[in-house]
């Protein structure tokens, strides 16, 4: 936890209300998100019990497995879930734009993409498990399932994996996103309780949040008291309506909280880079849809050696970009870096906009800017700098000391002999410079999977679908 977050948490505790740790929203929020609250049967890894889902807050759909130990009912439930989710997902595929690429064919990118919002990380993990247990099923052979079930499995797997991808907004966990924008006065573990976290943000800590009779757990696990006293007798009674009504009482409170969380997040203005990340999400979504349409096999159970290295490289790149973009978008996030000496902010006290370097044809405009700052500057001379105020520019630290920092603008000045108006900060302007820069460095080629070297176990075996896939336990 950073110093600033610790301070915000202490202040939240003292004032009895959560403190903002962001000034803008760092995730894209869809105009029509799919809120998805899944429940599973206690004691089972991935036995679905119910789900409440939908894109309109007044019209939640409730899907229930009235006897969760019945395998056929579970797959019937999965088919029902596919009946709601697949039309929602596929509805985004019709409207596309053509994207030109350097060194590659242009491709079609969806103008908008689906967004799944679950209550917490447990919901994400359960979605991934649901995907894992359905994507290898087949509509023929032993234990056939409806055709839509394996398709649903591949989409759920895709969303689950995307949720682990830094900066992606295709699948959000409400508690995670709220926690990124507000610091409560409770522990990180307690923040995973949606009701408790929302109480901290809106009215202050509430004991009711811990009471399963007022706020049932937001899933995927259910309250043990409910299991023993309500659910078990209802299932034993053999009356499906009774089970459905019992589960509705557990899901409806969370449903209301989910929309409250969405309203809170929607109340923040969107950060400048969120749209850029959403664009990548849209591209990824279109890629997945194309993949599926071309009949590619389901996602592998485990990443092979090459696939794992490739995914790690992509995720590290995304994480680095996400960290930098959030700091550039949000002064409150940048403040963390100012505290550690990786950034400084202050007022421009002197400029030399016409400073040049080199002679003759190689003469280049390199304006100098002197900034007065109270921040501890722990950057060495020569450090490469960027600034949120002028994102296209690059700069270099010339000297720092006694509260004055001299910066030389080295990139983005154009070819002219004098600086364009506004390109160089004016005296009196407040600016911020940081050593965080989002320079994309391509990563070197990985071998093809078939050429996996001997150090990593040699080429992997190909996946061939067989009847064994259907024998897997679904629990």
């Amino acid at each position: 936890m950073s110093l600033l977050t610790s301070l915000a948490r202490l202040r939240a505790l003292e004032e009895g209300i959560a403190q903002p740790v962001a000034t803008v929203r760092h995730c894209h929020l869809s105009a029509r998100p799919m809120v998805f609250v899944p429940l599973k049967l206690s004691g089972e890894a991935a036995a679905p019990l119910a789900a409440m889902l939908g894109t309109e807050r007044e019209r939640p759909r409730l899907l229930v497995v009235t006897q969760p130990r019945n395998r056929d009912l579970r797959f019937a439930w999965a088919a029902e879930l596919a009946g709601v989710l697949l039309p929602y997902i596929e509805g985004f595929l019709a409207d596309t734009e053509t994207v030109e690429r350097r060194n590659a064919d242009p491709y079609e990118r969806a103008m908008d993409a689906p967004q799944l919002i679950v209550p917490n990380q447990g919901g994400v993990a359960f979605t991934r498990l649901l995907g894992r247990s359905t994507r290898f099923r087949r509509p023929d052979g032993p234990y056939p399932v409806p055709e839509s079930v394996p398709v649903l499995g591949r989409w759920l797997t895709y969303f689950g994996e995307r949720a682990a991808y830094p900066g992606s907004a295709l699948m959000l966990a409400a508690t995670e996103e709220l926690g990124r924008h507000w610091a409560s006065g409770q522990s990180g573990l307690e923040d995973a309780n949606l009701a408790a976290l929302l109480a901290w943000i809106t009215t202050g800590p509430s004991e009711e949040a811990e009471d399963p009779l007022v706020w049932p757990p937001a899933g995927p696990a259910t309250d043990p008291g409910f299991d023993a006293e309500v659910l078990a007798p209802a299932i034993e009674s053999g009356k499906p309506e009774r089970v459905a009504e019992a589960l509705r009482t557990q899901l409806e409170p969370t449903w209301r909280l989910m929309w409250q969380a969405i309203d809170l997040l929607a109340g923040l203005p969107e950060g400048a880079s969120a749209a850029q990340r959403w664009e990548q999400d849209r591209g990824s979504f279109s890629g997945m849809a194309t993949h599926l349409a071309e009949g590619a096999p389901p996602q592998a159970r485990r990443d092979g050696a090459v696939a794992a290295a490739a995914r790690l490289a992509r995720m590290e790149r995304a994480q680095a970009a996400y960290d930098v973009q959030r700091a550039y978008d949000d002064p409150l996030v940048m403040a963390e870096y100012r505290l550690t000496g990786e950034a400084f902010a202050g007022e421009v006290v002197e400029t030399d906009p016409d400073n040049t370097e080199g002679e003759g044809r190689s003469r280049k405009l390199r304006p100098l800017v002197v900034i007065k700052t109270d921040d501890p500057v722990r950057l060495p001379p020569g450090a490469t700098l960027g600034t949120p105020q002028r994102r296209a520019q690059g700069a270099e630290l010339v000297s720092a000391g006694e509260g004055l920092v001299t910066v030389k603008i080295t990139k983005g000045m154009g070819r002219g002999r004098t600086a364009a108006p506004g390109a160089v900060p004016e005296v009196g302007e407040r600016v911020c410079y940081t050593s965080l820069t989002d320079d994309f460095q391509g990563s070197p080629q990985l071998p093809e999977a078939e050429a996996t070297p001997w150090t990593h176990g040699g080429p992997p075996q190909d996946y061939v679908p067989d009847d064994e896939d259907a024998q897997e336990e679904w629990s």
């Binding site: 682990a164 790690l312 994480q319 550690t340 990985l446 071998p447 001997w454 150090t455 990593h456 040699g458």
Partner: protein, 436 residues
């Protein structure tokens, strides 16, 4: 040679010379050979020897190191020891060779293989090698292989037929800024070190161990060996009394002076500050570290060893800490610029006469996996030839007791030794005998 008594290990009693010739003999017999080297056990010497040995066969050799400094260091050593060998130093575009290297005989620099002519040996970082695709070398030496992530090895393993992997298993494991749990348990987990992945897929490869640390004094080798290399062990190449550290001027009786005196006498000192929970950049601890360094210089320490007598100048002193902001704070406290101040990660593979260490657990309320990682403490407490002074707040023993290792156990992940918690206890136990 007459080894001083130390805990027993399988290759403990072998002479280092014997181990090196075993390694060289194994090279043509196996696809890969692994050599584990404790701190200062002559890893670089081995690499230089093996490089010359392979080059003598007339077959081209590629050498992989992890950082530009390591590459430059190897180039300098190889060229110094074997000036007749031609060495090509591959680098990325922005690299500027240090002036001292430009005069080395037979060394050429370039960003492409074609620029180098056809040298006996080509050296580059793992990152650079990953961009060189279209040629296969019959031999490779991978240096600091335990600090190399296995995904880096995956990118370059197609470039060689056989390889010698050399590294220190006790130092810091490679890491990532993203959560890699999804791969834990896989034999090719990209976050594991190159050696772990190599050995999991090729369990028959021979693993040798260098048995003698030439860097660590007799006062430190048993402590470090016991805490961080509990099963393999190593001993000091020198015996008690071979290394001496003397302070030229008298002290003023302050705690800092007494800590330095204790370190000069016994090789270790623990400067204990009052128990308190602090922020990472604990002002008092930072002050103490800076004062110790300043006093060490003022008192004119002189180190005598098998290499002769020399004053402990600022460039022979290092200050180590766990976090970058601590390093920045210590630097800002006004140390001479020649004193190295850095994090454990960046002190790996370096050597000094005296080190001053801010204990990773000092002033903390919790002991996270990061702070408990045995490699971190191992790096910090094994950089010195003469003495190591540790600065810490009291209460670390109680903190450790309150935070037993409770990391979730992942299926399929080999149990890692040594356990960071136990290693911390072991070092702390030893330090407590040198408390000031």
């Amino acid at each position: 040679m007459n080894p001083p008594a130390a805990s027993a290990g399988p290759e403990q009693d072998l002479r280092p010379e014997q181990v090196i010739s075993d390694v060289l003999a194994d090279l043509p017999r196996h696809r890969g050979v692994v050599v584990d080297s404790p701190p200062g056990a002559g890893k670089s010497t081995l690499v230089v020897r093996a490089a010359a040995h392979i080059a003598a066969t007339g077959e081209p050799l590629m050498i992989v190191a992890q950082t530009n400094e390591q590459v430059d260091d190897l180039v300098t050593r190889i060229s110094g020891k074997h000036p007749h060998l031609s060495v090509g130093r591959l680098s990325a575009g922005g690299y500027v060779p240090p002036p001292r290297m430009l005069e080395l005989p037979g060394v050429r620099f370039g960003t492409r293989i074609q620029d180098l002519g056809d040298p006996d040996i080509v050296i580059a970082t793992a990152d650079k090698w990953a961009w060189i695709g279209d040629r296969v070398w019959p031999w490779a030496i991978v240096d600091e292989a335990y600090q190399m992530r296995s995904d880096k090895l995956l990118r370059i393993a197609g470039s060689f037929e056989r390889a010698l992997f050399v590294g220190d298993p006790g130092q810091l494991d490679p890491f990532s800024i993203v959560d890699g749990d999804r791969w834990s348990g896989l034999s090719w987990d990209p976050l594991q070190s190159a050696v772990s992945v190599l050995l999991r897929h090729n369990p028959d490869l021979p693993v040798h161990r260098l048995p003698v640390s030439w860097r660590l004094p007799a006062s430190a080798a048993p402590v470090v060996s016991r805490a961080f290399y509990p099963f393999t062990g190593f001993r000091a190449g020198t015996s008690d009394g071979d290394r001496r550290l003397e302070l030229a001027t008298g002290g003023m009786g302050t705690v800092h002076d007494r800590a330095l005196e204790e370190a000069a006498r016994s090789g270790w000192a623990l400067l204990e500050l009052p128990n308190r929970h602090t922020v990472r950049t604990d002002g008092e601890a930072v002050q103490a570290v800076a004062l110790l360094a300043a006093r060490l210089l003022q008192r004119g320490a002189v180190a005598s060893s098998e290499q002769g007598e020399r004053p402990v100048t600022a460039d022979r002193i290092a200050v180590g800490a766990a976090h970058r902001d601590q390093v920045a704070a210590i630097r800002a406290a006004g140390l001479p610029a020649e004193i190295t101040v850095d994090t454990a990660n960046r002190l790996q593979g370096r050597e000094y006469d005296v080190t001053i260490v801010l204990h990773p657990l000092s002033g903390r309320r919790d002991a996270t996996a990061f702070h408990l990682e045995s490699g971190r403490l191992c790096v910090l407490t094994s950089r010195h030839r003469h003495a190591c002074v540790v600065v810490a707040r009291a209460g670390i023993a109680e903190l450790l007791d309150a935070h037993p290792s409770a990391e979730p156990v992942q299926l399929g992940v080999p149990v890692k030794f040594p356990d960071g918690w136990e290693a911390n206890q072991s070092v702390l136990d030893h330090l407590s005998r040198h408390r000031v």
